[in-house]
Symmetry: C2
Subunit: 244 residues, 2 copies
Amino acid sequence: MKGLDLSSLFRRIEKRRPLSAAQKSSIESGVDGTISVPTGGDVVREGDRPAKSTLLLSGLAIRYSMLRDGKRQITAIHVPGDFVDLHSFPLEIMDHSVGALTDCIFATVSHSTLERLIQTDLDLAKTFWMLTLLDASIHREWLVAMGGLSAPARTAHLLHELLLRLRVVGLANSDGYDFAVNQEELADVLGLSTVHMNRTLQELRGQGLLEFQQRRVRLLDVERLRDLAQFDGKYLHLRDDESF
Amino acid sequence: MKGLDLSSLFRRIEKRRPLSAAQKSSIESGVDGTISVPTGGDVVREGDRPAKSTLLLSGLAIRYSMLRDGKRQITAIHVPGDFVDLHSFPLEIMDHSVGALTDCIFATVSHSTLERLIQTDLDLAKTFWMLTLLDASIHREWLVAMGGLSAPARTAHLLHELLLRLRVVGLANSDGYDFAVNQEELADVLGLSTVHMNRTLQELRGQGLLEFQQRRVRLLDVERLRDLAQFDGKYLHLRDDESF
DNA sequence: CGTCAGATTGAGCAGCTTCAACGTATGTGG
DNA sequence: CCACATACGTTGAAGCTGCTCAATCTGACG
């Protein structure tokens, strides 16, 4: 499908690995359509066996699981350029759901097309594989943050990670980005109660570390936030080390 | 390399995906050696750029990251049959370390051999890819447990997961398995202090839910443990659903 | 018998949760 | 334009969960 802007995906890839013009155009031609999902909607659900993979073009998406006691744990936040659902290609059955945190537009690529793409270009297969491993790497880092950091540090870690990831795709400037997420959702990412999420944000604001209003985050003191979060960006595998 | 017993890997794969005899023998012939790592040793370290991937044959291995404040967070426990370090193939640089929790023997496969294997058999490439996604799936589940479960529930979750995973490779019977891990290490997995780990185990023992002595775990009441842990094994992607 | 790793215990405190109420902005129907 | 509803953020109080520090116990082993 021509005329679709996949530049965020390409930027994301090229920060880590060469991508030829031919590869770009074969990805482009592999896209067979787009899906719009409104805020709160699901793209795929636990138990589904998707026949296509989805790639986020605009908006913010989440992976999440529900616990039996009603708690929702968000296990990933996806930004434009993320090949959100690539992993349903080798894994087949969804063990969790993917939903739209804000209004989202996804490009879709059918699994049969993916099959064809990797058959004709093994290097592209490795690129796709790498993309899914990047997600895994972020999962590991979130585990480190969950297990080892306090609520304020964890919050700082997340918001700083998103700064770097959004910058790669041109959706953040040097110190802030649009982030239309409420405190409940943030709490579900960080494993906190909404009340404590609120107090944690107040704490960070009070320290002069960040602003978070009008659906926009500003990191007022990136240095100190990184320090608080014990942030080490190696896990993002960015080529030129802006990950500090 | 012939004469090496890769049956645990094969069992692990075949619980999820067909694996032909030809594929088995090409994996076998791809193994170029073994490495023994004593308890406490590292197989690969953060920052390494391995030229080979390692596959655990015996023992228990961990992935872990160190925080600047000295805390160690273990992000994965690997059991025999796990292709521990497969992900260094597409991702190249290690962002964390892999160590031996007990004395370990690994088989090694060089990246150039992996390249050749996936070139000649794309289905095998997908199998390898799937194996790394399985690890990612377990990471996600651990995130859910970290964010949403209490210390006893998290502990129950981990020990039950290991029961299922070890059963697949024939290293657990119906209710228990060898587990030569001390409480400090368990605490580093679960994000707890050693003191609280100790009290949590006492609690579970007191409830008649498990035994954990002489380097062996016995789950005395699997039903209630699963319930406490809100365990749902879908994330392990086992074909015949023993995952309950 | 001394040593050492690992397990256990007690006491006090900090971080986070829960419940419940209240504030504030935005939108909607009459 | 007002009255009300809704979503979201904020606050207070009380209590539990898990942490830290520090000491003691236990079994294995040289």
